[in-house]
Amino acid sequence: MKKYFTLIVLSLTLVLSCEKDDICLENTTPNLILKFYDFEKDTIVKKVLIDSIKAIDNAIIEGYTKKTLDSILIPLDLNEFKTVYKISSGGKSDTIYFSYGRNDVFVSRSCGYKTIFENLKIDSFTNNWIKSYNINNTTINNDTTAHINIYH
């Protein structure tokens, strides 16, 4: 009988000790990725000197000040159906009005739900340094490919 007991205690320890669904390891709500291209030759990536990026009524995003980048990754507001961003580059500022639908998708016990953004649109934008844009993907469900190309 002792043998059985040892077996049970062992298997219980195995089951209860390291449970991978206790820690959220899956991807959660994705960010919007903007990639910068040359307006003249629209297949060539053209880096941008970012002065600052901020959503209206929010603070400047840390990590995006005085940096030269070919793409940026910005969060969208999960409580609204629109987010307005002000992106400053080389002393000029442009404001972009994003609008989208939201869909909450179950991920796992520890991650809960993530939000997928659908029907992504740019309602309007100012063109001080941004010249035009192209939406590659109207659904934002991953953090890996650019959703919008910005031409400047």
Binding site: M1, Y4, F5, I8, S11, L12, V15, L16, E19, K20, D21, C24, T28, T29, A55, N58, A59, I61, P75, L76, D77, L78, N79, T83, D104, V105, F106, V107, S108, R109, S110, C111, G112, Y113, K114, T115
Partner: protein, 235 residues
């Protein structure tokens, strides 16, 4: 929660050992006289569930157990129960309610002294549960703190769900008063199949308890049962 279960289990085992040590001299008969062996139906109730219901708010549950001796060491066994629980995870909060039934066999591996009817057993069960969940609220999970998501009071109901699984059980039953038994049972569960809700998951299943990521589960009960003798054999 799990620690509490383990603690209750250890205490119950200790209580049973003290109860069991008082037993031997009660029904001693002379060797020449044949000993009565009763074949009966034993009906019990899990007393851990009402205690947990009392200690934890928003948790209700009860479980009936029964077993029927059909040969010297083998017993047909069944458990039947109902649960209504509220569970909180990091990003969500849900309730689960439903019923379950478990059918199987116990093998008594304990060699009793003459006249004693104790058991240390192992066994197997096939179990079935039908249940529903209500997703009370959740907060969309986004990394970073630039936008903080508000909790959403969903109240979504996921009805008509079911699951079936197999259990390996290990337990003991000690006759503390004539025909009255105290018992405890541990079970390891392995899911066979579940009907999963859309855009949610069966995180907790009545009778199975928490569904671990590898589809395993654990459970225990602590029973008081009464044996109704049906046939008495002498050997």
């Amino acid at each position: 929660m799990i620690q509490r279960h383990i603690l209750i289990f250890i205490i119950s085992v200790l209580i049973q050992f003290t109860a069991y040590s008082q037993k031997p001299e009660l029904e001693q008969e002379q060797d020449s006289i044949k000993t009565k062996v009763s074949y009966g139906f034993r009906l019990g109730i899990d007393i851990s569930k009402p205690i947990i219901s009392f200690l934890q708010e928003n948790t209700k549950g009860f479980e009936l157990t029964g077993d029927l001796r059909f040969s010297n060491n083998y017993y047909a066994a069944a458990e039947l129960g109902y649960e209504d629980v509220l569970k909180t995870e990091d990003y969500l909060n849900y309730s689960t309610k439903g019923s379950f039934i478990k059918l199987g066999v116990n093998y008594n591996a304990y060699e009793n002294w003459k006249g004693m009817n104790n058991q240390i057993y192992i066994g197997g069960r096939y179990a079935f549960s039908f249940f529903e969940h209500t997703l009370n609220s959740y907060t969309p999970n986004a990394s970073g703190t630039y936008f903080i998501a508000n909790p959403i009071e969903a109240g979504t109901n996921f009805k008509d769900l079911n699951a079936h699984w197999l259990e390996f059980v290990f337990g003991m039953k000690i006759e503390t008063l004539p025909n009255l038994y105290l018992g405890t049972q541990l079970s390891l569960k392995k899911m066979i199949a579940t009907k999963e809700p859309k855009n949610f998951k069966n995180l907790y299943i009545p009778g199975f308890n928490r569904v671990f990521s590898n589809n395993l589960g654990v459970g225990f009960n602590y029973t008081v049962s009464y044996n109704i003798p049906i046939i008495n054999k002498y050997k």
